[in-house]
Symmetry: none
Subunit: 259 residues, 2 copies
Amino acid sequence: MFEARLSQGSLLKKILEAVKELVTDANFDCSETGIALQAMDNSHVALVSVLLRAQGFDPYRCDRNMPLGVNLNSLNKILKCAGNEDIITLKADDSGDTLGLIFESPNNDRIGEYELKLMDIDQEHLGIPDTDYEAIVRMASSEFQRIMRDLTVISESVTIDVEKEGIKFTSSGEFGTGAVTLKPHVDIDNEEAATSIELSQSVSLTFSLKYLTLFSKSTPLSDQVTLFLSDNVPLLVEYKMGDSAYIRYYLAPKINDDQ
Amino acid sequence: MFEARLSQGSLLKKILEAVKELVTDANFDCSETGIALQAMDNSHVALVSVLLRAQGFDPYRCDRNMPLGVNLNSLNKILKCAGNEDIITLKADDSGDTLGLIFESPNNDRIGEYELKLMDIDQEHLGIPDTDYEAIVRMASSEFQRIMRDLTVISESVTIDVEKEGIKFTSSGEFGTGAVTLKPHVDIDNEEAATSIELSQSVSLTFSLKYLTLFSKSTPLSDQVTLFLSDNVPLLVEYKMGDSAYIRYYLAPKINDDQ
DNA sequence: GGAAAAGTCT
DNA sequence: AGACTTTTCC
C-alpha cells in the first residue's frame, strides 16, 4: 500500500512539465523515504534524477518498496486535469498495476479521481558517485535560462568558464560569437537574483546547449539553480524545491577537439 | 576606431525589429556625425533610411568613415540577447571585419559581449532630393498602423486623399470597400493622439498596403508618424525618435490605371 | 485576472 | 509563415 498526499500539487505538475521532453518512461521508485525517479534521457546523453522526500507529503505511507513504471507523457496529460491549487494524492495498491491520482480543489467542492495504467520498466538505477566539484555556482534560474536561450542563437554548444571573478558562458558560430559574464554579487532587494561562486580550481568545460536548454525548463520550480562543475566530470545542474525535493540533471562535457 | 554607447539600448532593438523584414543586408555608415543606414528593400520597391545622430550616443567616437556591412537578420538575433533595459555599446576596429556589441545590464552584474561578422555590401547610397511636399500629415503612429491593418482585409492597395478637412484612406476589393477618415484635431489629454494637416494642395495617391504595413512596424519607436505627400513623388513616412534619431521610408505611388 | 506581446511549435 | 501557447504587463 502506497499513499502520498501533496498539498502543493503544482509541484508535481511543474516537475512533469520539466522532465517530459527529456524522458518518456520512468520508474517512480517509492520507498519509506520518499519517491525517487532516475532516468537517462531518450538519447542516453543526459541523466535526470528527481527526489521527493517523504517529509514533503502529509500523510506519506509506503509499506514496501515499489517501482511504479510510468509513461511520463500520459501522467502529464492526467496532471493537466488538476488545478494549480489542487491537493494531489498519489495511491497504489500492492498489485502495482495502476497509479491512482486524486485531485482535491482548495475548498474541497471538486474531486478528480484518475487512474494511470502502469508498465514494467527495466530498472537501470545508476549509482551516481559523490563528487567534490571544483566549482559550484549558484545563480538565478531565470538568468540561466535566459543565457542558454540567447546563446542558442549563436551556436549549438557553450563553453562555461568559472573563475573567482565570475562565470562566463561563451559560444561561437557561423555569423559571430557571444559571451555572457556574470559577476558574483548579492542583491539585497532581489535575493533570488544573487550569484555566488565557490571555487577550488578554475574550470572550463563545453556542453550541448540543447540539453542545458532542456534542463532550464525547471526554472518555474526554483528561483535559484546551482551548477556543479569539475574537469572531465559530468556537469550537475540542481534545482532545489525547499528541503524536501530536488531535481538534478547530469550532462557529460563535450570533448575539446577545437584545440 | 569606432565606438558608440547607447544608454537606451531598446532603441536599437526596435529599429532592427522594424527594418528586418524590409531589408536583409545593409551598410551602417558610421561617420563623425553619426550612424546612417540607407537601403532599398529586397524587392527594390521601397527605400529605408535610418539616422542615429552622434549626439544620441554617449560617448560617440568615429575616427574615420566606416561602412559596416551587416546582415540585419544576424544582428537582430544578437540584439535579442540584450535586455530591454541594457546599455548597448557598438564597437569596430579599423579593420572593419567585425562589429562588437556589448550589453550591460542596468545593475552592471551581467555583461554580454557579442561579435558579428561583417560583409562587403555594394554601396548604393542614393541621394534623396529635398522635396517641398504638398501635404504633410502628422498622426498617431498606432492609428496609422491600425488603418493599414484594417484596410489590408479589403484590398492590396490604399488610396490616400488629403484635404484641409481631413485625411482619407480608401480601399476597394472583391467583396467590398473600406474608408477611414481622420479629421485634424488636438487632444489635450492625449497629445500623441493628435492629427494635424499642413497642405498647399490637395493630393490623392495610391500605394501598396503591403509596404505601408511593413513601414508601420516602426510604431513602437514613436507615438507619432508623419506622412509627406506630393503628386508623382514618393511618399515619405517618418518616425522621429527625439531629435537625435529617425527612421524614414519612401514608397513610390502606384500608377492610377483604374480611372 | 485579463489582455497584449513574445516565443515556440507545426 | 501561421497558429497556438506561454509569458509579461496592466
